[in-house]
Structures are given as C-alpha cells and as structure tokens.
C-alpha cells in the first residue's frame, strides 16, 4: 500500500510543474486572446501577386456572383 504514497509524491511534483507552466503562460498573455492565434496559424506567409488566382482558387463561386 505504501506504493500509493510514492505515486502521490511523484504526481504532486508533476502537477506542480504543470501549474508552474500554466502560471507562466497566463502571465505572458497567452490566454488574453483566444481568437487571433487560431486564425493566425492558418494564414500563409506567401504573398500572391494578383488577386485573380486567389479568387479562382479558393472561391470557385465568385465568378457566378459577379454579373
């Protein structure tokens, strides 16, 4: 049964590390904005020269909506 006490000690130490990491993350502002990082990761860094190929590639319906 004393193995439980050993496991408890280890788990507490592990949890303390996670708590420390969490506090650091909150302090550095990681939780301040939960929308833009989610979008930012999807944004390309490459720049397209003209919007023509842009419109054609990602919005196939655009042609029909412009009479």
């Amino acid at each position: 049964m004393s193995v439980i006490f050993l496991l408890l000690t280890i788990s507490t130490l592990l949890a303390s590390m996670f708590l420390f990491a969490f506090i650091r993350a909150v302090r550095s502002g990681q939780y301040d904005d939960d929308r833009s990082p989610a979008v930012r990761i999807l944004l390309d860094d490459t720049v397209r020269a003209t919007p023509d190929d842009a419109g054609a590639s990602s919005h196939p319906s655009s042609a029909t909506e412009q009479p």
């Binding site: 049964m1 004393s2 006490f5 301040d32 904005d33 833009s36 944004l43 490459t46 720049v47 919007p51």
Partner: protein, 811 residues
C-alpha cells in the same frame, strides 16, 4: 454580415465563409467591401468597386503585394468612413492623446496600441499583421482580436504617429480614440491564475485524502506527513484564493448590507479552522479537500461571470463623440487647436462632414447642418451667415467658417450632458441573491446556535464538531454558482442572437422590466430605409432618369434618398446645375429644363402631407409632373414586435420628431406616443414612469437618448455597425435583431425562473447537509462528496435550462 455578429468569439472561419456565401447578391457587390454597387460603379483592374475609396485601398494593397487579403475571406474590406467622421489626425500629435496610445518609445522606435473596432474577420487580422509591407517604417504589428486592438512597432522619425493613423484610415481601419479604457487584462489574468492554482490544490488534496478514505494503513509517519502537506496546501487557499470573498464580505458588513459572500466567508473560515483543529489534535484528516473544491468551483463561477464583451465599449462620455481638435483660423493661417482651448471670438473652420464642437455663429459659407447626432433626425437644416449653430451639428456641405460663441464647457451640449450626469440617479435594483443571502446567513447562524444549545445539554464535547459541521455544510457554494452560470449562459446565448449585455446582472434587470420605451428615428426606423412613392401621372423612364441626373448631384438628404431609390437607371449628364438652398435644384438634362424641389419651386401648390412624409416635386420644361412622397419606414418586424410587447407590458414611443407615421402610430396604444421630445423630456418621461412604479427598458440609438438610456432601469443601444458611436448603455443590440426584443425579454424572464428553481435545488442540498450535521453524523468523506455533487448538478441544471430557454424563446 454585421460587424457586431462577428464579435462572437467562437465563430469559426468556416462559419464566416458560409454566411457570406449564403448572402443573396442580386446586385454587383464591391470587390473590396461587399456593398452593392451602382450601375455606374467603377470597374478597375477587372473588379467592381462601389466607390473610389474602395478602389484606392485595393490599389494600395495590390502594390504592397497584400492581395491575400481578398483570398482569406470574400469582400472583407471596411468601407471608408466619410471624411470628418473621425477625429482629425492632427489630434494624435497631442501629448495627451499620444500618451494613451504609446506603450514604449526609445531610440526612435515606438510601440503603440490602437483600438480598431472595424476588425471583424481573419482577413482583417492578416492585413493588420502585415502592415510592414505597406510602409517600410512599420517594423511589426500584432493583433489582439478579443480586444479589437492592434499593437504596432514603428520608426517614428520616418512615420510620425498622425501619419500612421492616416495610413490605417486609408486602408479602412481608422483607430478610435477616446477616454483611455482601463485594461481588463490584468485582473482577468489574476483570476485565471487563481482558478489554475485552485484546480491544482483541489486535485492534489483529493488524491492525498483518497488513502485515508479507503482506509489505507500505510506507515503512520507517512500518513501524518501527507496530512501536514494538505495543511501546507490550504494556506494559499485561504490567504491567496479566498481574499476576494473576504474583502467583499467585509465590505458588505461595513456598509450593513447582506451579500452572498458573507456565508461563503463564514464557510471558508469554519472549514479551515475545523480542519486545522482536527489535524493538530490528531482527530482526523480534516476537510481540506472540500475547502479546495469549494474555492475551485467558486472561482470558476467568478471567471465565467467576468467574461463579457471586452471589445464592445459600453461606457462612453460626451468627449468620445465630439472632435477634440479643430482648425482655428487666424488671419490667413490655420492651425489645429484643442476644442477645450477655444475662446469666444475665435474663428474656426469646419469641413464637410465634421461636427461643430461648440455653440457658434456661422460667418461664411453655406451651412447644411445635420442634427442627427443630437436628435436622430437625419434631414439637414439650412443655415445662412449670422445664424447660430449649436454644438453637435454635422456640416453636410462645403467647409464653413464659424465664430465661437461659447467655450466648450459652456456649450449647450456639454451642459445638457453634465446636467444629465448629475441628476442621473437610477434606482438601484435589489438583487435576488442579496435578499436571499441575508435570510440565509441569519438562518445558518440560528441553526448553528440551536444545535450548540441542544448538544450543550446532551454532550458538551459534541458542540464544537457539530457547530463547525453546520457552518461548513451550509456554505452556499451551489447557491453562489447558480446565478453566474445561469446568467452567464444567457448572456452568451443572447450574444449569438445579436444582443450584447455588459454584464450578467443585466439579465436579472431585464427579467423584471414591465415598461418598454422606444426612440423612433434610428431605432424603430432604420436610418436609411425610406418608402418612396410617386404621386401623379405615370412617370416615363426617361423622366425618372432626369430626376436621378439632378438628385445625384446634390447632397441634400432628400436628393440622396431619391438617388438611392432610382439608382438602377442610367441618367443623362446634367448641365447648368443650380442648387437653390431651401427650394430645390434646377438643371438642364437630356435637352430639357428640369426642376426638383419644393411645391413653390416647381410652380404648384402645397399638397396635403400625411404623417410626417416629405415631398419632392418635379417639373419638366416648366410643366408640373407630380411629386415623390418620402416616408421613413419601420424596421422589418418591428410593428409585430411592439404588438407582441403590448400584451404584457406598457409600451411608449418618445420621439424628437414632430409627427409619427401611421404604420408605427398604429402599433402603439393611444396616448403612449409623445412627439417633439428633447433629450431632457425623454429622461423626465422615464423618471415619471419609474415614479409610478414601473421598471423601464429604454431602447434608443443616438446621443439624444443618452440621458434616457442612463435613467432607465435597462438601456439598450441599437447600432447598425460595431464601429458606430453608441452612448453609454447596459446593452448593445445589433439593429437586425431588434424585432427579437420580445424573445430576448422572455428569455431573460425564463433565465430568472431557472435561477429561482436552481436556488431551490441548492437549498435542498443545504437542508440535507445541515440535518446530517446537526445530528452529528458529518464526516470529511460526506462533505467531500456532497459539495461537488451539489455544485456540479446545479451548474448542469442551469446550463441545460438556459439553453432550453433560448431555444424556446428565440429560434
């Protein structure tokens, strides 16, 4: 897609794309901003643009290689604000303003944070984070979408702050300047850290307690070692996590008011002292796991409640609306000067679309003053040199020169505002939970005393454990959680449907409303929706085109309405155009002499007018043809909504206009419409209703409603765009959601009933706990099970209840 609706933070990019795709685009939409284009719109680089402004932005982005902007979301652009709608860029050179924006400035490198309410989609984020490609002096830019803020690092000697602001405006993201808003971030972060720490201690203390509960018989030394470890963990629980509850309870005691934090504070202290006593005396492991759990649940509730619409601004003062800087003319030079520094006799220049900041006399130029900012009425008033112009009017024509009559502080508008702010005493609405908390605290203390007396007679050794057990188990954790979660969910669900509340307490206020007061212009009627009808013999197409040829050359509001109505036609060129102020326009078009304007101007007699409609007459080659009647239309669904509200509530309409059209008048009860109201009249009318015992909801939009919105028990500001200037209020509503108002009110009432039901449920738990405690059967294990079970079940109940209420009341 209204900018407001996209504030909803959980909307994914996919959802945003879908909603654009399903929009019906019957007309050509602008490639940049998505607004419908007139037939004579600009076609540039193979794309359609609704206006020159949009095409310019496209060019700018194209040159900088930033056309990804158009790829991420369709037609993401923000329409250019009309010149003068924003503060002068010179303002940003002033130290007072600069210091509110600049976070850091050293060695020529400056970092400034701007509030940009226009940002609404992932394209906006992408563009604003790629500003460095537009101007070489910009080094870095970073967006915080939750706050609608962009932080820009730039070299100030190459790009002074006012120039940076101009650049942002050019691409449609002009920053807003206003009273520096206290940043919420710090307290939010602290609360989040507290939740994290509470969760950590809760989890670990529970683990430590498990061997004890299971009856593990490890070495005795280890066991006591773990008990002391839980004591150690409990120190931050009491001295770091609970401070907010202690402070609030103490504040309540000092002001002799009951609040829910008082029984909670009693519970926390009882738990800690009893547990310490148990461990020190070796009586048992104590209730440290229940203590940590209590704080964890309470803090999660606090955190959930604190989450409101950060990006929306509910507190606005007059200074946010008026220009802060104006051009002063001395001789032949013009210099920007702060409005507050103007003295009577100064000559100022107000350009097209700018607000007149102080009471002044028109000295030169043709005044075309639109008082919609003050009264909500968009039809401009003609002013000639020598006339007085009150502060708050917007010049709709070319630049005018004014002589300052009164200083800013003495101007009528400022005084009106100050008067409203000092006389504003909204009756405080007693909160349900506080009334309950008082009785609850008294009941708990009575039960504890009774139990103490009982056990004193039977077994004095039991007094201490029983009394502490009663105080522990009576701690109203579930009670304190039901309201934040029930109202927090309701706030979120309402936000998804277009009503944004400033805080959870507004739900409770809204649920008790029994009178609704509406403003007309801009609230019940859209600013732009008009019903235009032709009276007279049928007008041939060619002559309709003539009307458009004239109307589109004029900035008069009625001309604008006509031009908008006839926008599908292809008009001939107009020549010899002459605008006769206050009468009409005469011009040659298509080889004919055309006049539009007043009855006298077109050579006929005045026609009978119905319900505040305006007439525009037409004559061609001297022959009278007939007239257009222009009537402002109610927003779709509003008449039905008012009818619906009348079933259970008192409704009233307060308007600054002289007349109300039949459609709206029919919706309201006889005698409940008051016309010709000044802002003060509106406020007084609401005060009177409150004195008669009504709880009043005011729905308004303009600055003229600001006093009434503040006076009412709940004030809702209706807005068509998130970037609009809306006065201080309890809630902001997307104009397209206004017809759902009866649904929102029903939802608030249901939420209130759910809270009452959940309070009853949590009182049941308390009753069970207290009876076990009084009987002397309380154990740490029993507390450790009862507390989370009651909290979780109450939270689950209100969550499902709020969701169900939203489904039942609003589709």
């Amino acid at each position: 897609m209204g900018g407001l609706t996209s504030v909803i933070r959980h909307a994914s990019i996919v959802a945003a794309l879908c909603s654009v795709a399903t929009q019906e685009l019957t007309r050509t939409a602008c490639f940049h901003c998505g607004d419908p284009c007139a037939d004579d719109h600009r076609v540039h680089d193979g794309k359609d643009f609704c206006c020159q402004g949009c095409a310019v932005v496209y060019d700018l982005l194209n040159e900088a290689g930033l056309c990804n902007y158009y790829e991420l979301e369709r037609r993401p652009g923000v329409k250019q604000a009309a010149p003068g709608e924003e503060q002068r860029a010179e303002l940003f050179a002033l130290e007072e303003v600069r210091s509110t924006l600049v976070e850091f400035s050293e060695g020529g490198i400056t970092r400034a944070r701007f509030h940009v309410p226009q940002m609404h989609c992932s394209s906006c984020i992408w563009l604003l984070e790629n500003l460095a490609r537009i101007h070489p002096a910009i080094m870095r830019s970073r967006v915080s979408f939750a706050d609608k803020e962009v932080t820009i690092t730039f070299r100030e000697q190459d790009l002074p702050l006012p120039e940076l602001v101009k650049l942002l405006r050019r691409i449609g993201y002009g920053p807003q300047v206003g009273a520096g808003r206290a940043r919420q971030g710090g307290t939010d972060r602290m609360l989040l850290i507290r939740v994290g720490v509470a969760g950590f201690i809760f989890g670990n203390t529970m683990l430590f307690a498990v061997p004890e509960y299971l009856g593990a018989d490890g070495e005795a030394g280890l066991k006591t070692g773990f008990q002391w470890l839980t004591v150690l963990f409990s120190i931050p629980v009491v001295f770091f996590l609970s401070t907010g509850f202690f402070r609030s309870a103490w504040a309540g005691i000092r002001s002799r008011t009951a609040n829910i934090d008082q029984p909670i504070a009693i519970g926390i202290v009882a738990l800690w002292v009893r547990s310490l006593h148990d461990v020190i005396s070796g009586a048992g492991p104590g209730y440290f796991d229940s203590l940590a759990g209590l704080l964890f649940f309470l803090l999660v509730g606090r955190w959930y409640q604190a989450h409101t619409y950060r990006a929306l601004r509910f507190d606005r003062t007059l200074d946010d609306f008026l220009p802060l800087v104006v051009l002063r003319r001395t001789g032949h030079t013009e210099e920007p000067v702060k409005v507050a520094d103007l003295v009577p006799g100064d000559r100022i220049v107000v350009r097209e679309q700018e607000l007149v900041p102080v009471d002044a006399i028109l000295r030169s130029g043709a005044g075309h003053i639109d008082n919609s900012f003050i009264t909500g009425e968009p039809l401009a008033v003609r002013k000639v040199p020598g006339d007085t112009i009150k502060a708050g009017g917007r010049q709709r024509g070319a630049a005018i020169e004014l002589e300052v009559l009164r200083t800013f502080g003495e101007s009528r508008l400022k005084q009106l505002w100050a008067e409203q702010e000092t006389t504003h005493h909204r009756p405080a609405m007693p909160r349900l939970i506080d009334a309950l908390a008082r009785r609850f605290t008294i009941a708990v203390l009575l039960v504890a005393t009774g139990a103490a007396l009982y056990w004193w007679g039977r077994d004095p050794a039991q007094v201490w454990p029983v009394v502490t057990a009663v105080l522990i188990v009576a701690c109203p954790c579930a009670l304190a959680l039901s309201m934040p979660f029930a109202y927090g969910h309701t706030v979120r669900l309402m936000g998804r449907r277009g009503l944004f509340l400033r805080g959870t307490e507004v739900v409770e206020h809204l649920s008790r409303i029994d009178a609704v007061v509406f403003d007309k212009t801009g609230t019940l009627t859209a600013r732009e929706a008009h019903q235009v009808q032709w009276h007279g013999p049928p007008l041939p197409m060619a002559e309709q085109e003539l009307v458009l040829a004239l109307a589109r050359n004029s900035t008069h509001p009625l001309s604008t309405v006509l031009a908008h109505e006839l926008r599908d036609l292809a008009p001939p060129q107009a020549s010899h155009l002459r605008e006769h102020p206050g009468h009409g326009i005469a011009a040659m078009a298509g080889g004919r002499s055309v006049r539009i304007g007043s009855a006298a101007f077109c050579g006929t007699s005045e026609k009978p007018r119905h319900n505040g409609e305006a007439h525009v007459h037409l004559s061609v080659n001297g022959a009278y043809r007939g007239y257009f009647s222009i009537l402002k239309q109610a927003r779709p669904g509003m008449v039905d909504a008012v009818h619906h509200l009348r079933k259970g509530l008192r409704t009233a309409l307060l308007t600054g206009d002289a007349q109300v059209d039949a459609q709206l008048a029919g919706a309201f009860a006889r005698g409940s419409i008051t016309t010709g109201c000044s802002p003060v009249d509106k406020q007084r009318a609401i005060q009177q209703m409150q004195e008669q015992g009504h709880r009043v909801l005011m729905v308004g939009d303009g600055l003229n409603d600001a006093g009434a919105l503040a006076q009412a028990d709940v004030g809702i500001t209706v807005t068509e765009t998130s970037a609009a200037l809306n006065p201080a209020s309890d809630a902001i509503m997307d104009a397209t959601a206004l017809h759902r108002l009866p649904g929102f009110m029903a939802m608030a009432r249901r939420a209130h009933r759910i809270v009452i039901a959940s309070l009853a449920l949590s009182l049941c738990y308390n009753l069970i706990g207290v009876s076990v405690a009084v009987a002397g059967h309380m154990t740490p294990l029993f507390a450790a099970i009862l507390m989370p079970v009651s909290s979780v079940s109450v939270v689950g109940f209100v969550t499902l209840g709020a969701w169900w209420a939203a489904r039942r009341t609003i589709r």
